[in-house]
Symmetry: C3
């Protein structure tokens, strides 16, 4: 299936330079694109490739001025990343991979409620009183505990385990082998040096439009709910402890961890391998660089932090540049 | 089901101030408690809430003196955390969630031995000669390899994989998708730059009363056993390499990693994202702050460490406070 | 089954000091070896044990000179680690644990192609058009997506999930609950503060002779392939983001993470908990210490790095030794 530059521009916007009838059948990386493909220039680091690129159509930013003439048909847009996302969706929508039906080997409790047009894959377990929304996709080998709710059109990839009582919104994606609702890490020390388990009686609530990465773990609250607000995107191998709340549209990169009762504001960005200590509050729009350690509240919005413990990112880099030479002074 | 303050005090100890006939039906967080619930004040950071809290009963420390009068019935105890754990257990014990029976879709080898009152969930595999103790709970989709032993009353949550030959004690809890007994990371370099696998022929031994978090991995020994001693509590996404030994009653927070052949003493506490290099020995009662890196033996008991490489925690914080201003000097 | 010192020397090379007819039936650790076992001295830290060791045969380096006489039969080799790997393999080969046959509870698509002498375990799913090479071992509860290819003699342990379209080479080992091919973490910000998913349409390619640890995640490329080259060994809980390429024979210890589009050279060694920022290139034979953070390209081969951000490892240790005393100056 081929799309013309004109058709793409009609769908996603942008200005064509070159032949509007240029056809492409797939998307390719700018380094390795062949004729018949569409490539894009997002990161300026890759500018060099654009002059040798053999793609038939290249999406570029309206603000980008090539330093040599380009042979490809160009599609100039405001934001090449947004545009390429839309193009990929265009191609995707033409070969829908939405699955349907219930496998005979899935174990579906009589008291559960399964919506219309759902997919329940091989060996998945839907426990008592669970409610699965219309169009939800439960891949094979998932465990959906008692009283769990999963909203419409959410996709649960193979091997995800959701403990009893957790609530997942609509249009969420949870990747393979993630664990939602395991017990929080709560113990009371006894006089003999051993630890007594504090029962973890709460749950996890994930609102609409969230994505949770592979092998990520989100623990249930000891009392109340661990809450992931609408539009939050969480990468792989992230640890979210009991009673944490992550604010709307915050994004969290891989291997970051939040200790118990942390409250994160809206629109924050976490790099990878960040650690946040228990009971910390983080203001909206905070940006936290990779490997940072947060041990005190971030009260002011929009700061950028680095270091362990965290400090202003630019100050950290300046101090670190002195640190590098400490032994030479 | 409602419990009176008197009944709770009889069960868990403590002194009542107020009406001993006050009734509660559940436990709530102090920030959001409603009438008919029981709340507690553990962390002094939450003291403010106590004066506006609408809970019917509040558990507080005997040493706590409220600065204004409180309307709730108070239960004064030595340790509010211990007390709330006991109260939650009281409520829990009244609605037991212990499961029974073997799913027809579980694959149970003829040569395995399953104890009395066990639960073997859907799609779980119990391999040859495995021994499952009385009252053990194996949730769905678990893999129990050949010759594995699991002690009485242990709970294995969905998707846990236990490789052949590993031994789990009694009263243990292993959370979803944890992996016990995968091969240690052992390779010998060959002259051509490739690596030859060193067969990992040992096992993992987890003693009684341990808890292992979701998606945590504990590798089998190359020779002998990787050992988790009695009462150890391990959080999610922790990595324990081959031939490690973790001493009795040590607790390990999320995303911490131990390289091969580390020996950790008894009663230690590890924060999150700590790394310990191979072949290190750590003395009893060591406390290690989050994100610390340990590259030499800790010989003295009871130290508190921070930094990468690790140093005395207070010294680290002092040195870091100078580091923060290095570029301003 | 017993092997003589002579037989072992014939198989793996080395010079015997003592009785060539000495027999052993298993391998033991030097600290706890009993008569009838074979031990080895690899790490010089363990030299003390050699003088009290009761093993019948001890493998030592040709360059090692004992300071007291030893009673055991000695086998002197160039590289004790290589030698012990070979001895373990000798013992292993005599009790093959290769499994055969297809479980009736595995779900195998009609359009898939399963090679000769394969094992497909209980509850595993082999999806449409998947191709499984001769002698491959798929343990229980695995998910092999549409169009996945797995090469000859590869071993896929329980609970591994491989998303559609990924390619695994021959003689690979993938440990339990690893996830291959989940969506990369790619989102385009929308004007209202939410994020729009960028479809991840590529795949993961793992070449021959690789080992992937338990609960490790390797994401599919947004476009093109995430590539793990021949002979790469990856430990547990490692995160490899979309479009990363890891060069031949590189080894990566536990909990390390690579952000998107990183390119790692051949023969590199990564310690645990290292983080590499997006779009970074790392030269061949780079050695990166644990907990290091890489935020700029490493252009020169063979460097050893530490710190966050990374610098020369020896320089880091020198600077850090000053840091430790900063507050005392």
């Amino acid at each position: 299936m081929e799309l013309t530059a004109q058709y793409i521009a009609d769908q996603i916007g942008g200005e064509i330079t070159g032949d509007p009838q240029t056809k492409v059948s797939s998307v390719a990386r700018i380094e390795s694109a062949k004729p018949g493909t569409l490539a894009f220039l997002g990161n300026p680091k890759y500018e060099n490739y654009i002059y040798t690129c053999r793609a038939s159509i290249i999406i570029i930013s309206k603000s980008f001025e090539p330093s040599s003439p380009l042979s490809a048909t160009l599609l100039r847009v405001d934001d090449p990343y947004q545009a390429i996302a839309s193009v990929l969706e265009l191609f995707n929508s033409l070969k829908s991979n939405r699955k349907r039906g219930r496998s005979w080997s899935a174990k579906i409790a009589w008291s559960s409620k399964i919506g219309k047009r759902c997919y329940i894959g091989e060996g998945s377990v839907i426990s008592k009183r669970a409610v699965i929304g219309d169009g939800a996709q439960i891949y094979p080998q998932c465990y959906i505990g008692d009283d769990v709710e999963i909203g419409a059109n959410s996709v649960i990839y193979p091997g995800v385990k959701i403990y009893a009582g957790c609530k997942i919104g609509s249009d969420c994606i949870i990747h393979a082998n993630a664990v939602i609702g395991a017990d929080g890490f709560g113990f009371a020390p006894a006089p003999d040096g051993s630890y007594k388990k504090i029962p973890q009686t709460g749950n996890v609530v994930i609102e609409n439009n969230c994505e949770i990465g592979a092998n990520t773990t989100i623990d249930r609250a000891s009392i109340g709910s661990t809450i992931i607000r609408q539009g939050v995107k969480i990468d792989n191998l992230v640890m979210i402890a009991h009673n944490v709340e992550i604010g709307k549209n915050t994004v969290v990169a891989g291997q970051t961890g939040f200790a118990g009762s942390v409250r994160v504001g809206e629109g924050c960005m976490f790099g990878g391998q960040v650690g946040v200590a228990g009971h910390i509050t983080i203001a909206d729009k905070t940006i936290i660089g990779a490997q940072t350690g947060i041990i005190s509240n971030i009260k002011e919005e929009g700061k950028t932090l680095l270091g362990s413990p965290a400090m202003d990112a630019r100050e950290y880099m300046k101090a670190y540049s002195i640190f590098r030479k400490l032994h030479k002074r």
